[in-house]
Structure formats: C-alpha cells, structure tokens
C-alpha cells in the first residue's frame, strides 16, 4: 500500500519535471494581448513559442519574439525583430546603431505600439521565445 503511494508520488514528480523542462527549454504557449502586433497577431490569440533558437542565439531579423518587458520584469511583450547588433536604425530626428548584445524591436502596428522606438534597444538576454505558430482561433491556425 505504502509502496504504491510512493511510486505514484514519484511518477507525479517525474511527469511534473518533464513538463517543466518542456515548457521552460523547448516550447510553451503564449496568449498575446494588446493591439501592437495587429494585423499579424490580434488580442487573445494563442501562440506556440519555441525557446531553442533563443538559447542557441539564432534569432534572425523578421522573427516575432516574446520578450520580458524592459519596464516590468513580470510581463512579456510580443514584437518583431527589426535590427540586430551593429545595424543602423532610424530614431526621431536622426539614426543610431544598435549596440552589441541588443536587438531592435517594433510592433507590426506602427501607429499603436510601444516598442524600441520608445524604450530603445533591448538586451538579447530579455528575449524568451520565438513565436512559430498561431494555434487559436481555429480559423487562423498557421505559421507566424
């Protein structure tokens, strides 16, 4: 009796750890809110985000990424990578280079997006995942 309780507890721990590793290191699901990525991604769409390309540092320009907000570490933002380190980006009145180890992010909805144009380049260390697929709503399923 006791043996079977211990065995099922161990199995539960193992499944929990496997789930944690999958969500943390392979891929997880993200619900996007806000208008900044319209029309690509609308409010309350569910995305599949993978973490492997972030960990191996192979995020290319044009990817849609999930990033820890520079102004609030508890929330995430979803933007498109526009430029990488060393690239020239236009900012109000002039232009500037993206510093080493940073990326330049912009929303697809240029008129309604708080992005690098407002808070500057974002350190790569804040990037958490790359959006690969839209899973919900069903009419919109497909690659991002």
């Amino acid at each position: 009796m006791l043996g079977s309780v211990v065995r099922s507890a161990a199995a539960l721990v193992q499944v929990g750890c496997l789930a944690h590793c999958t969500l943390e290191f392979c891929a997880d699901f993200v619900v996007c809110e806000g208008p900044s990525m319209e029309p690509t991604i609308c409010g309350s769409d569910i995305l599949l985000a993978e973490h492997i390309s972030v960990r191996s540092r192979i995020i290319s320009k044009g990817s849609v990424v999930i990033v820890r907000s520079p102004s609030d570490p508890h929330s995430y933002i979803c933007k498109r990578v526009i430029a990488g380190p060393g690239d020239r980006v236009p900012i109000v009145g002039s232009s500037s280079f993206v510093p080493k180890g940073h990326v330049w992010l912009e929303g697809d909805n240029k008129l309604n997006s708080t992005d690098s144009r407002a808070f500057g380049p974002v350190p790569f260390g804040l990037v958490r995942g790359r959006a690969v697929m839209k899973l919900w709503p069903p009419s919109d399923i497909g690659f991002v």
């Binding site: 750890c17 808070f119 350190p123």
Partner: protein, 175 residues
C-alpha cells in the same frame, strides 16, 4: 537503465532551475567579497533560483545576471540602486542618474576594476538570473554572502517613482 535516465534527467534539470546551483566566480570585480586572493583557488558560490520569478531584490544583494553587452556571459554584481533611486555614478556619462522603471543599478565591489552599470548604464531587472546566497568553496571561505552596500555608494534618495521617469531616461540607452 534507459528509463531511469529518461526520467532522472528532467528531475535534475528542474531542481537546478528551481532551487539553485553552484557556480565558479571569475575575475577581480567583486573583491574583497569574492575572490579576495587571486593566487588562491577561485570562490564557488551558491546561486539561488528559488524566488527568482518574483524579481524582489533589495539594495546590497549579490546577484548573477546576463551581461547586457554579451548574452552568452553571466556576470556577478551587487545591487546598488533600485528603480526610482537617484545614484551618483562613477565615470558614467551622466554624473547623477535616476534609475528607470523596471531597471536597477549594479556595481562590483572592486570599484574601478569592474565592468558594471558605470560602464553600461542601468540594467533591466529581467536580466537577473539568480541571487548569490553563500560561498560554498573553498572550505575556509564557507559562509553566507552578506548583503550590504559599500561605503559611500548608497543611493542619494529613494523618492517614489514618477510615471514618466522611464521616458525621461530614454536618452541613456541610445548610443
């Protein structure tokens, strides 16, 4: 055997990811708290991941973070100022600086020999990966890492953060 590995590895990784791990400290930037004698063996510290997700750090804590200049490098520094604090910088391009929302100011204890906020500016809290709680190796250095601010490095004040403080300091990020 294969089954044991298949289930054992995720348990180990999850433990490291949620509880913490031991890491070696390189360099002189945290002298005298860490690596006080470079000719001796390097210090090993325990990095706690336990309350990492809360991002609830106090001034004086020793934290490990991803370098803003190089995402492949982890650095260990002391938290000097939190968001809203007014810090007096040492060799940064502005003499006084209000730490923007969601950011903090880090410095190594070895002033002048540390690549820290005086070089790259305030850092986003999201870059912190763990809090260093104790020295675990070598044996004669065993003990907790004290949380303190080196003399004279206290923030000048800790007024409540104004709503526009984040925007005010934007110029700082653009080089």
């Amino acid at each position: 055997m294969f089954r044991a590995l298949l289930f054992g590895i995720p348990v180990g990784i999850t433990f490291v990811d949620c509880v913490g791990y031991v890491a070696k400290v390189d360099g002189v930037s945290m002298q005298p708290s860490l690596n006080p004698d470079l000719s001796a063996t390097s210090d090993f510290v325990f990095l706690s991941r336990w309350s990492w997700r809360k991002f609830n750090y106090s001034r004086g804590d020793v934290v490990s973070l991803i370098s803003p200049k190089n995402p492949n490098q982890a650095i260990i520094k002391r938290v000097i100022g939190l968001e809203g604090d007014l810090v007096k910088t040492l060799g940064y391009r502005r003499k006084y600086l209000r730490v923007p929302r969601g950011h903090f100011w880090v410095e190594g204890d070895h002033t002048g020999h540390s690549l820290d906020s005086n070089h790259f500016g305030p850092v986003a809290l999201g870059l912190i990966t763990a809090k260093a709680t104790s020295i675990v190796w070598p044996p004669h250095r065993w003990g907790p890492l004290e949380s303190y601010i080196p003399g004279g490095r206290q923030p000048l004040n800790s007024e409540p953060l104004k709503n526009n403080a984040f925007c005010d300091d934007l110029g700082e990020f653009i080089e």
